[in-house]
Amino acid sequence: MSEEQIRRIQLIIEAALLAAGKPLNLDQLRELFSEEERPARQVMEHALSQLEQACEGRSYALCKVSSGYRFQIREDYARWVGRLFEEKPQRYSRALLETLALIAYRQPITRGEIEDIRGVTVSSNIIRTLMEREWVRIVGHKDVPGRPAMYATTRQFLDYFNMTSLEQLPPLSEIRDLEEIGREVEQKIQAEIQFDDPKSVPEDGDDDTGDDHNESISGTVH
């Protein structure tokens, strides 16, 4: 069989695999040809290996999977292309946000304690999600029956919310007045920025207002 004929078979296989949208095995590929011109299996295999070589330097490769041959995007390019299909992540549930907030404000805290405050059980999913996201970690186990894990927030949690320390969270008393929250957070971040400038460091010895002094402990508790 001439090179040209092999090449023709190779291109027919290429077209079929690209159009089929599913793997095709050798028999299915041979079915493309009428009986008189159906290439022998060896010929088909030869054409397939030629095709495999032809794909070098392309973004896809000829792969053999259990149900047959198919073209598959090479991993190098799959990463780029994956962006096409990235689904917009779903939003977190209220329950998850409440759990996260309680861990942030009441750490170290056990799941049972969160449940006591929230008045409902906390699903394992929520804890797993928070741990997978690395916003929450186990810092120890409480010495009570069952030895429940105690959860605390992480540096990644602070990083995500652009904080250097939990001190920058608004005090609980102000949370009830939500209009304040945005401004509160703004101010704290503002204050933080000012600390970078040595001249603007406020010098007051009031120990009771930890909020104003968090530069001294910020960033060290990780």
Binding site: Q72, E87, L97, Q107, P108, E167
Partner: protein
Amino acid sequence: MTDDQQVQENSESQTPEATQVASDTDTPDVASVARVAGQPVKDLPQDLYIPPDALAVFLEAFEGPLDLLLYLIRRQNMDILDIDVSEITRQYMDYINAIEAMRFELAAEYLVMAATLAEIKSRMLLPRQESEDEEDLDPRAELIRRLQQYERFKKAAEDLDELPRMERDTYATSAPLPRLPQSQVHPDVELKDMLLALRDVIRRADLFTSHHVEREKLSTRERMSHILSCLSGDRFVRFESLFTIEEGRLGVVVTFLATLELVKEQLIEVVQGEVLGSIHVRARAAN
């Protein structure tokens, strides 16, 4: 769709007579009879007899009266503009009569066209009434306009059918992505959303339970977490090692308060082997 396809398929798989008629419609010019001295021969004998089976197919092969008229005109190699109304009308009526005689259901449009043709024919026989013509459309001009217009879109439909199209002349291509390590996409969270959620918890807690999330120095709680995480494992740790001198006085205070809180909450164990000896701490649950 299925109806229409049915028609298409019917017109291709019929008795020889039917096929003959159907192919006539596809190539009317070829089917036109011999020409004598450049003039097409009229009064085609085969017009007058159409086998009943074929008639239904024949009728379905036309897209309506305009299509039928175009066929009759083209078969005589006439230009639309040169319609011999009398002759076309006669042939048209022959078909209609044959179809009606077979009691095939005939679309009303065919009868309307028959009336139009009859009107044109009669007008041409009568002297023109100028007063009427000022208001009426000349029915013959109108018919010609409609025939031209229809023929044009009949052709456009044929052209459209010739365009290379998907699933006939070409196919879409695709290749799947390999299975990649799951790179999870996380939802975005606004700090405000978390705080809103907390507000609701606090409100509920205030209402339904005795637990109050009281105002708390977060630096202390944060430090409690930190100390606990340093105490993992079954080892006593020197109390002093919990403090970082570089943090200054406030840092020492925070650590100390956190330690006291941990003791109070029975989370850590503090031991002192001898008076004024070194203090060691360990997590109570650690073992």
